[in-house]
Symmetry: C2
Subunit: 215 residues, 2 copies
DNA sequence: TACAAAACAGACCGGTTGTCCTGTTTTGTC
DNA sequence: GACAAAACAGGACAACCGGTCTGTTTTGTA
């Protein structure tokens, strides 16, 4: 009964598995409530391997934030909005897509970015700035889309920064409530509140800019 | 050198001191990051006394939520909105008051309710429902105010529930970003986004309801 | 094949955490 | 004043956490 066991080094795959597990655990239980022991067990990994890829728990969380959370925001928000016919329509589509997904999922774990932002922003400045960067990129993408709409003649009286800030805030806050009540309905409620309001000052200045600089 | 020390039992005061310290610690560091040892030291209390008033850490947090967090929402949101001339004006006033307070304070610790909601909603169902109740009361107070405005002839086309949900969500999300960027400016940005939008359908149906059922 | 570095295994440790437990003192009540 | 309950003191403890350490195996390279 010779101990014939082979080991195949797969640093990239192992790192990915750890990030997968950590991303899920941080999302479901939070940073402090997720012990490295839990993560090691869930990922089927040993302490040595974990420490080799991520020297500290903080380094692991930082990697989750910068690689996974940022990507999640990009995929579920930034890309759909940029691909939409307009910023307003893009925001609406994302709200509905997320609401629909949560409804058929049956539970609400909340926005990964907001979850970690609340727990870690005040704890560590590196965490804070990493999370703040993601928020900033999120807002800027929406604001840029509004500006693009304006160059094409739409969204006359809408202030890009204000619209972006409000969209991100409304989504974040709605997800917060949806998570707490375990009911995604509030997402739809907020979307309707957002839609029921029209841009106020569609003045002549806005109308004049129509179809100018259309490429 | 006789050990002449007198002890004065003050259960209510001691309980209050513990809640004071716990409220601050949970707000600044979160639930998991606040150890009972820290709280005992900060409150100048012994383990026996703490355990007498709050058998478990969970019981303490539940008391903080139900007594302190709920009161904070009541004082900074519900009462000012109800006292305002209209729901819309009340929301605006609270946004500005909080923004002004944070600006002169120099740092942003976030909304107590949202902070705990994110960390504890998925951890324990008792936490979750207690926090959900506070969110619900908050939203209902604003919605009721909108309905009161409508009975007095204003806010024709505004859906009370939608407006309330959007106001709470926008505030929660804005505070989330303000905390992460340590800059309350986004609160004002969101408020302007909220204000720059007018109620859409001020149709005849809304106008017909004017001054009806005015008590 | 030689060999150094990377990749991984697994035990170990100091410190902390939340809770419990046994006493002692104060307080209300008859 | 007797006495039980409440209020408080303070130590003990087992579990756990994150990090470190040593050793082994794999892998790239010459």
């Amino acid at each position: 009964m010779a101990p014939r066991k082979k080991r195949t080094n797969d640093p990239e795959g192992m790192r990915r598995r750890v990030l997968d597990v950590a991303e899920g655990a941080f999302q479901a239980r939070g940073y402090h409530a997720s012990s490295l022991g839990d993560l090691m067990a869930a990922a089927g990994i040993t302490g040595g391997a974990l420490h080799h890829h991520f020297p500290t728990k903080k380094a692991l969380a930082l990697a989750v934030i910068e690689e996974r959370v940022a990507a999640a925001v990009r995929e579920t928000w930034i890309e759909p909005v940029l691909a939409a016919p307009s910023a307003r329509e893009g925001v609406r589509a994302v709200f509905e897509a997320v609401a629909a997904e949560l409804e058929q999922q049956g539970y609400v774990r909340g926005c990964p970015l907001n979850n970690l932002a609340h727990e870690l922003s005040l704890a560590d400045d590196e965490f804070r700035s990493a999370l703040a960067r993601i928020f900033a990129g999120w807002r800027q993408a929406i604001a840029d889309k509004v500006r693009a709409d304006q160059l094409e003649g739409g969204e006359g009286g809408t202030d890009p920064e204000r619209f972006a800030a409000l969209a991100v805030a409304a989504y974040s806050g709605a997800m917060s409530m949806a998570k707490t009540s375990q009911d995604p309905g509030v997402l739809r409620e907020c979307l309707k509140g957002l839609e029921g309001l029209q841009p106020s000052s569609v003045g002549p200045a806005a109308r004049r800019r129509r179809r100018v600089l259309l490429r």
